[in-house]
């Protein structure tokens, strides 16, 4: 139990079922993991393997009428599973931030970035509008976003996807959450923007000691960022472990397959060590 004490976020025996017309159908089963402070946990799996369901159940965002979430999800020893909407609203955004794949959909198109930034800050703190704007600008400066004052006056459609994603990350980091859940944060971005976003996530981790649950199907992202990795398939965890161990010495067939099937570039700077 010693290790689970140190963890910020603990998920134990998570089991999610959905009601269908032929009875209950299991989405994820026997999910156990924990994230330590300031660590990045990578979650890998193909589409439909239950990655997003897992992250949604941590945030209690699943439809409670049609789905049944069993098990225990604790954030700093506080049980989240079964918590009411009102309490969860205080946790989402402040304690656990969520970064989605498509930043375009994560913002409301009819309000400026600044309005949404200030709204997020003020709903969780007692700052007034001016202080909230100052905080927003500070955070955006610290994550190297250019011309924060101008950015705040823009509407989401005036920015590129990569830029929006970085603003989103700045927004989620400004309240110093203890956990950030990043669900495929770079899948919709081109290579250079991907690099900027990943660097930004790493910076936030090292500056604020935030733990990150990084969900991705891109093993490149995982190998650059993660400390530990969980591999999911068909709603179950098939392998978990340290990132080096997993890449050097994968045990499960599915992990081996994942490592084998990705396109590789063999040129001198990156010798391929694990041709299986």
């Amino acid at each position: 139990m010693e290790s689970s004490k140190r963890n910020i976020l603990n998920v134990k025996d998570l089991h999610v079922e959905v009601k269908t017309k032929d009875g209950m159908s299991t989405l994820v089963k026997d999910i156990n993991f924990g994230i330590e402070k300031g660590k990045i946990l990578g979650l890998v799996g193909e589409s439909g393997s239950g990655k997003t369901v897992t992250s949604m159940s941590i945030l209690q965002l699943l439809d409670q009428k049609n789905m049944e979430v069993q098990g225990s999800i604790t954030l700093q020893d506080r049980e989240l599973n079964g918590l009411g909407n009102k309490e969860m609203r205080g946790i989402r955004g402040k304690e656990i931030a969520f970064i989605m794949q498509n930043p375009m959909n994560a913002f409301t198109p009819v309000f400026t970035i600044g309005y949404q930034f200030v709204e997020t800050i003020r709903s969780h703190t007692s700052l007034n509008k001016k202080q909230a704007i100052e905080l927003a600008i500070d955070v955006m400066k610290s994550v190297n976003l250019p011309e924060p004052e101008k950015l705040l006056k823009k509407y989401p459609f005036q920015l590129s996807g990569g830029m929006l994603q970085r603003v989103m990350i700045a927004m989620s980091a400004c309240l110093h959450p203890s956990v950030i859940i990043a669900d495929e944060p770079t899948t919709a971005l081109d290579l250079h923007n991907q690099l900027l976003v990943l660097r930004l996530l790493d910076k936030i981790r090292s500056e604020y000691g935030t733990s990150i649950l990084l969900i991705s199907h891109d093993l490149g992202v995982i190998s650059e960022m993660a400390d530990d990795v969980i591999v999911m398939q068909h709603g179950r965890i098939v392998e978990a472990g340290n990132v080096f161990e997993l890449f050097d010495n994968p045990h499960h067939d599915y992990t081996k397959k994942l490592l084998r099937t990705r396109p590789t570039l063999d040129y001198e700077h990156q010798p391929i060590t694990h041709v299986l």
Binding site: E46, S47, G48, S160, G161, G162, T187, A188, L189, D190, L191, H192, N193, Q194, L195, L198, R199, D202, H217, D218, L219, G220, V221, S223, E224, A226, V243, F244, F247, K257, L258, T261, R262, P263, T264, L265, Y267, H269, Q270, I272, T273, H274
Partner: protein, 268 residues
């Protein structure tokens, strides 16, 4: 003679500005020339906004360029008569990134795939169905999927249906515009293998538009790098690409993620 020849194509988009006298011209393509030989795959790499998709549209005949010409099998596609255009379109197909919006949600897989056949070939109902089934099998789907609707397929399966539709008329050139970018790794490698197989079997040529360097190199014979509407260079091999000192290529190389945690490189 090359299968496709792009000659000095220029195109810019006009953005009308409210209360401004001058319209702003956004140069999307400037002076682009290259060619694709039969049975070869040309990859086009570039960041978002580099003009990759505009070039794809120009080649497909959807977007008439302001200057320059596209010669497909020796015919200028924008100045050919109706009959020739119709014949050329048969040999020129496309697969887009978003598989779901590329199909009609109210059609079954069978109708989606047989639509080009209806337009170009005179087949009986039975023959057409047989052709569709063999196409489905070619892309690793089965007869059972004939009557399914798009929402019943996963993204990867639907992308394969799009590919089946594209190859149904045995075209000469397929434009793949980010076709493997939004699917997961396992599906991506499946689709890439499928595309490679089709290339061998039918002697197809591809124009592979992507921002994913690894995917581009796994299928292309030649790689062109596009930046701000300009074709910077065509590279015939990996070595050529990786030894290039061009700043755009350097930036691309820096953004390649490590294949193993031991080679973490992005934080230097």
């Amino acid at each position: 003679m090359s299968l496709l020849q792009v000659n000095r194509v220029n195109h810019s988009y006009n953005s009308k500005r409210f209360f401004k006298w001058k319209d702003q011209m956004n140069k999307a393509l400037s002076d682009i020339s290259f060619s694709i030989e039969e049975g070869k795959c040309v990859g086009l790499l570039g960041t978002s906004g580099a003009g990759k998709s505009t070039l794809g549209k120009v080649i497909l005949g959807i977007q008439r360029p302001q200057q320059g010409q596209i010669l497909f099998q020796g015919h200028d596609i924008y100045n050919a008569d109706k009959r020739t255009r119709q014949m050329l379109r048969r040999d020129l197909q496309v697969v887009f990134q978003d598989s779901y919006s590329a199909v009609n949600p109210r059609m079954t897989a069978e109708r989606i795939i047989s639509e080009p056949l209806e337009n170009y070939e005179k087949l009986t109902v039975g023959e057409r169905r047989k052709t569709v089934i063999s196409l489905l099998e070619r892309v690793d789907l089965s007869e059972k999927d004939l009557k399914k609707y798009p929402h019943q397929f996963s993204g990867g399966q639907l992308q394969r249906i799009n590919i089946a539709r594209a190859i149904s008329l045995k075209p000469k050139l397929i434009v793949l515009d980010e076709s493997v970018s939004s699917v997961d790794m396992v599906t991506q490698s499946l689709i890439l293998d499928l595309l490679k197989g089709l290339k061998e079997d039918f002697g197809l040529s591809y124009l592979f538009i992507t921002h994913d360097i690894k995917a581009a190199f796994s299928i292309s014979d030649t790689i062109g790098v596009l930046e701000k509407g300009e074709l910077i260079q065509m590279y015939d091999s990996k070595d050529q690409f990786f030894s290039s000192k061009h700043p755009v290529v350097m930036q691309m190389k820096d953004s390649i993620l490590a294949e193993h945690p031991r080679f973490r490189s992005i934080f230097n």
